[in-house]
């Protein structure tokens, strides 16, 4: 059983990379247009170990994770409190509904010009773009999680002595809404990580995975472009794993209660 769990994904990866390798050598065979996975891999190792004189990938990773952390952290603070507020108070929901639904469909990329004009080519501008991408899934999932807490739990808590609103929120509403909130955080983290590329493309700093993709394109070096794409994929994968781990820890009570 365990062997199968490793073998099946391994087989799919092997197939994917062989097809790609074959596609390059048989149909493209031009180092200015595309790179085969074998070349991407050696480039990736060079980048990570500092063998390339112009690019040093670990530094880019740090910059990107930094942008991500600031933007996502901000989205977390704003999204959770706003979601809680509009999920709990009907008036706050009615007050903010239209404005949120008007701003939400604007893609984060569309905010780039305003971010540059207002904040300049700064880390703040990059984090702002990431914040915009991440904040809405957090707001909405928190709101729906809070608004759909069953009245019976609130009433039970009230007769047990939870008479203050703050107590009800801390002891009942938040734990009851946590599954929805966690789902929102995971989606938001994914969106935030995707926004890192967009946020760095316009050159807020001389480092960052998204920035280097654009540099590599200017150099006409597809193996660099793909190596950076690969780095974004790998880090995104691990970020999601981390959230999944946190989720399974804080939602341990749901084991066997729902399909995980």
């Amino acid at each position: 059983m365990k062997l199968k769990k490793v073998l099946v994904p391994a087989a799919s990866l092997l197939l994917f990379f062989s097809l790609w390798e074959a596609y390059y050598w048989l149909l493209i065979n031009n180092p200015l247009l595309l790179a085969p996975p074998s070349r991407v891999l050696t480039t990736f190792i060079e980048l990570m170990t500092g063998c390339n004189p112009h690019f040093y990938m670990p530094l880019d990773m740090v910059y990107s994770l930094f942008h991500y952390a600031v933007g996502f952290g901000l989205a977390l603070a704003v999204g959770l409190s706003l979601g809680l507020l509009i999920g709990w108070f009907r008036l706050a929901d009615e007050f903010s509904y239209t404005i949120i639904e008007l701003i939400r469909p604007i893609p984060p990329i569309a905010w780039i010009p305003i971010a540059i004009l207002m904040l300049g080519l700064t880390h703040q501008a990059a984090s702002f773009i990431i914040f915009i991408g991440a904040v809405f899934p957090i707001i909405l999932n928190t709101k729906y999680g809070v608004a759909s807490v069953e009245v019976k739990y609130l009433e039970a808590a009230m007769t047990l002595g939870a008479t203050k609103t703050s107590t009800l929120i801390m002891k009942v509403v938040l734990p009851a809404a946590l599954p929805s909130i966690m789902a929102g955080l995971r989606v938001a983290s994914g969106v935030a990580w995707m926004c890192v590329v967009a946020a760095e493309l316009f050159g807020v700093a001389p480092y960052g995975l998204g920035y280097q993709i654009e540099m590599a394109r200017l150099y006409h070096a597809p193996e660099l472009v793909i190596a950076y794409m690969f780095a974004i994929g790998v880090l995104g994968f691990f970020l999601d794993r981390i959230y999944k781990l946190i989720e399974s820890k804080v939602l341990a009570w749901r084991t066997g209660f729902v399909l995980a």
Partner: protein, 272 residues
């Protein structure tokens, strides 16, 4: 002969739910509840038994009249009147122990004392060994035991129970009734127990308050002097059962006749 202390006074209670047309759920209810007694409330389904209990719990406000707990009006829900609900209301994110600890945490009792108290209530309802399980891992009967332990842990003046065993199968229900009698005799709490099951009411109650169909008025209060544990097949038990069922049947028939009668003309509109 010493008179029992009255713990709760219900005076001229009326409850109307707004709507069109407004629903009069309770009408002119006068009832005294004595300290330490086990009072059952029965009545036709949908008559307002639960509403009465919710008013005592403070989850509904009276439209008219008053409800006084030891002379003080009830202003809202509080841990002096804990409710055990019909549906499963254990917090699914807390273990058995966590659920029983809930009220103790709110009271700010130090952790070690709270743990000790919670464990003793878990023992009282016979759930030692299940402390660290989550509600969804328990059977229906076990969940209601936890709910009872959770309520008792608040050390309430009154335990309000809203058809707590109605979702259980007949065997577990009888078993839980026996257990509840034992728990009640050990703790001496005042219990108000709503049920539509006459046998359950006679098995459990010191007194049975019988409500009429909508709006619910107090039709009768029947004292039950049978010694405990009660024999469900005993002569007197069966006679009492027949008597209460007779009252309920009468009320049910009135209700049906009311429904079958042509609409009484209202608001000037007359149907041909």
């Amino acid at each position: 002969m010493s008179l029992p202390n009255v713990i709760l006074i219900i005076k001229g209670l009326r409850k109307v739910f707004e709507g069109s047309p407004p629903l009069v759920a309770l009408e002119n209810i006068d009832l005294d509840i004595y300290e330490g007694e086990f009072l059952c409330i029965v009545g036709p389904s949908g008559c307002g038994k639960t509403t009465l209990l919710r008013v005592i719990a403070g989850l509904e406000k009276p439209t008219d009249g008053e409800v006084l707990l030891r002379g003080r009006p009830i202003l809202g829900p509080g841990p002096d009147r804990v409710m055990v609900f019909q549906e499963h209301t254990l917090f699914p994110w807390r273990t058995v122990l966590g659920n029983v600890m809930f009220g103790l945490e709110l009271k700010g009792i130090p952790k070690d004392k709270a743990l000790e108290a919670a464990n003793s209530y878990i023992r009282l309802v016979g759930l030692e060994g299940f402390e660290h399980m989550y509600p969804h891992e328990l059977s229906g009967g076990m969940r209601q035991r936890v709910a009872i332990a959770r309520a008792l842990a608040c050390d309430p003046e009154m335990l309000l129970m809203d058809e707590p065993f109605s979702a259980l199968d007949a065997q577990s229900r009888n078993y839980m009734q026996r257990e509840l009698m034992e728990i009640w005799s050990k703790t001496g709490k005042t219990v108000v127990f709503v049920t539509h099951n006459v046998e359950e009411a006679i098995y459990l109650g010191d007194r049975i308050a019988v409500l009429t169909y909508r709006p619910a008025r107090l039709r009768d209060v029947i004292s039950i002097e049978l010694p405990r544990p009660r024999d469900r097949l005993g002569q007197e038990f069966i006679e009492l059962r027949a008597k209460v069922l007779g009252i309920l049947k009468e009320e049910m028939e009135k209700a049906i006749n009311q429904k079958l009668k042509p609409e009484t003309p209202r608001r000037g509109k007359v149907k041909p």
